[in-house]
Amino acid sequence: MGTSKARASTAAAKAAKPAQAPEAPSQNLPDKTFIIDNGAYTMKAGYAADSAEESLSACTSIPNCLVKTRDGSIVVGPQLATNVSDWNEAMFRRPVEKGYLVNWEAEREIWEQCFFEEKATARNRNIRIASPEETTLILTEAPNAMPALQRNTDEMVMEEWGFGGYLRCLGPTLNAWNEVNTLFGDPLARKPGADILPTDCLLIVDSGYSHTTVTPVYRGVAIQRAIRRLDIGGKLLTNYLKEVVSMRQYNMVDETYIMNEVKEAVCFVSNDFSADMERTYKGNVKRQAPSDDSVVVDYVLPDPNAKRKGFMRPYDPLLEAKKKKGALSGLSAETLSEDVLVLGNERFTVPELLFNPGDIGMKEAGVPEMIMQSLSVLPPGLHAAFLANVLVVGGTSLIPGFMERLETELRQIASADCVVRVRRAEDPVRSTWMGGSCLAHSREELSKVAISRQEYQEYGSGWACRKFAGIA
């Protein structure tokens, strides 16, 4: 086992520490810093930018997958936007499984096409790495990764591409480098021109594609014992919606992409679950003209032949009857040919899983209680500081109503002495990447944690693993 070997050699490294670890790290990290936030759904990549305004344009989101379309052709991530128009029955292969980079065969192909193209083109202008030797790479990983996977990652980055400098860090911790004081309405702590320092206490809730994690970050470092994970993310929600719709209406089990779009368009987190349930009960939905305040909506499915995209509109209970009458009812041919999903309680029972995983029998606590579980293993003196600084990132947090529900429920179960402030990052998807961009600017901090190519070549991947774990 590589892992136990690493452990055993830790002790040896300790004994021979003065001899092995360089006193003043002979680090010369390259100036250019490239940041990859390698998510399971999209990866966010780009060179570190000078200011927050620039960083938005410097960061590019690329789907991190291989897609097999209905006609059998295989398309790699960066080309998806241009090369795929028919998303029906598209199949996905993702190198990042459950949030962890597992399959390097596929990931290398995607990285090669994104970052290491021979020729510079308009598409890859911002994200092309011409010479890895002169670039420092900041790569994020999900918390609690297996040591074997971490080691694979280090070896691939340093031996396949040979980056000049390299830092592998927990994704959530990077958010602490962002400027969050304005978000929480605090006075600016850092003076303009002063060194960038991470926020003191920040509790990061990262709700992504594969899972939702809670990470308390103290001065830019995660408190490992308190990291908790709920195995519900965007993928599970999409699959659940797919299953429910397939059971009740059309068979959509192969339409992952379309159902993901449906989820993003219609789903919301209910702030009064039972009331919303009553509003969507079939006995209560009246046969009347479509109204805007109804929970029930129609989603018109996309039609690739007519090049029409899917969209949401208010529910029309009379549509079915009109369609039966056919052309007599005066509907246009377009309306007659469209396929409609009627979505009622599916809209909010699906994201409800984040707060009540017990609804599908999962034996895990919902997000607010998970936050309290995470805090329960920390000294009580820290509770107030973390509860007052809860930052939510990740794409799943964009579901409407998520923030309100999280804040309400957290307020209910938190101690009455504590202030509870829950905020979502301005751009929850790219917030982690932007934090990395800030970290790249404080060269001093970066050189403390990153390793250089020479060091890797001298001490090897086992040492790199321990260094990133904070042991070496």
Binding site: T3, N103, E159, E160, R248, T256, G470
Partner: protein, 297 residues
């Protein structure tokens, strides 16, 4: 009489695991002793009634595994073969090392890695994550102090506790942990005894104004103090938990699970007498009975 049931595995894959469960009135020898139970119902209710758990738990585990799949069908999507010209260009850049070849050719999935890690932990290795159980249970602040002490015992390079005064050092850590958990008054003492690191930190921090009302019992803050820097250093130096140990624990308030209608999603008020699924009313029940009664998920 006993029956054998497959246990729901906590592991990622279907593995054999069995338990003996008591059997109520199934066999012909017992039919006479329990004549009121018809044999048909007994067969139908096998694994239901009092102990439905393992069967249901299996179904739930299968359902969740299904929900975690990327595609509904199993498909193999091969990495597209590169053009020969292009591949040639790439080859020239650098020779691939044996590590890279091994990683690229590995067809291991996440579950394989997870099983490897679990096996390593079971053998006592555990890789980088040294103490696994620590985060799983609710560890109080006192436990935190102990864990920190054991960490200190293991890692001699941690600051302050030199080998010469190890015994005293450990005592002090425990005192610190206690102070952090409870009394604010005591903490001032221990922090005073805490040594140079603490005073240094104090100096760099902005100090609060002192007034005569500080000791007024009505105005005093009873909020627990921030833990000292040394405790924070210990906390931050801890190794990560394993994948399974970091999963969120089941909720404390054990409310009965909510049931939903399997047809329309409304509250599931009535339960089908043949299978355990719920429906909201007679309309949905009839639909369920006609079409999918007996189907498991």
């Amino acid at each position: 009489m006993f029956r054998v049931e497959v246990l729901p595995g906590g592991s990622s894959q279907a593995q054999p695991g069995y338990t003996y469960v008591t059997d109520r009135g199934l066999g012909p020898s017992q039919a006479a002793t329990a004549p009121t139970l018809s044999r048909k119902r007994g067969i139908r209710d096998a694994g239901k009634g009092g102990d439905i758990s393992s069967q249901r738990a299996n179904a739930i585990a299968r359902h969740i595994a299904e929900l975690n799949k990327e595609n509904h069908r199993d498909v193999q999507i091969a990495v597209p073969v590169k053009q020969a010209k292009e591949a040639g260009v790439r080859k020239t850049r650098e020779k691939t090392t044996s590590n890279v070849r091994r990683i690229l050719q590995s067809q291991k999935t996440f579950n394989n890695y997870l099983d490897d890690e679990e096996a390593a932990i079971a053998q006592g290795g555990g890789g980088l994550s040294a103490f696994q159980g620590g985060g799983n249970a609710n560890v109080t602040a006192k436990g935190a102090g102990k864990a920190a002490a054991t960490a200190a015992a293991r890692r001699s390079s941690t600051p302050a506790t030199g080998p010469a005064k190890k015994a005293t050092g450990r005592k002090r850590i425990l005192a610190e942990a206690n102070s952090a958990s409870q009394s604010a008054a005591e903490s001032s003492q221990t922090e005073a005894a805490d040594g140079e690191t603490q005073t240094q930190a104090e100096e760099s921090r902005p100090r609060l104004l002192k007034t005569e009302h500080d000791n007024d019992p009505l105005l005093r803050s009873y909020a627990p103090n921030m833990p000292s820097d040394r405790i924070m250093q210990r906390l931050l130096a801890e190794p990560p938990l394993s994948y399974n140990a970091s999963r969120a624990a089941p909720p404390l308030a054990s409310q009965p699970p909510r049931g939903f209608c399997c047809i329309c999603g409304y509250w599931g008020k009535i339960r089908c007498k043949n299978c355990h699924v719920r429906t909201c009313g007679l309309d949905c029940y009839r639909l369920h009975e006609d079409s999918r009664c007996g189907a498991f998920y």
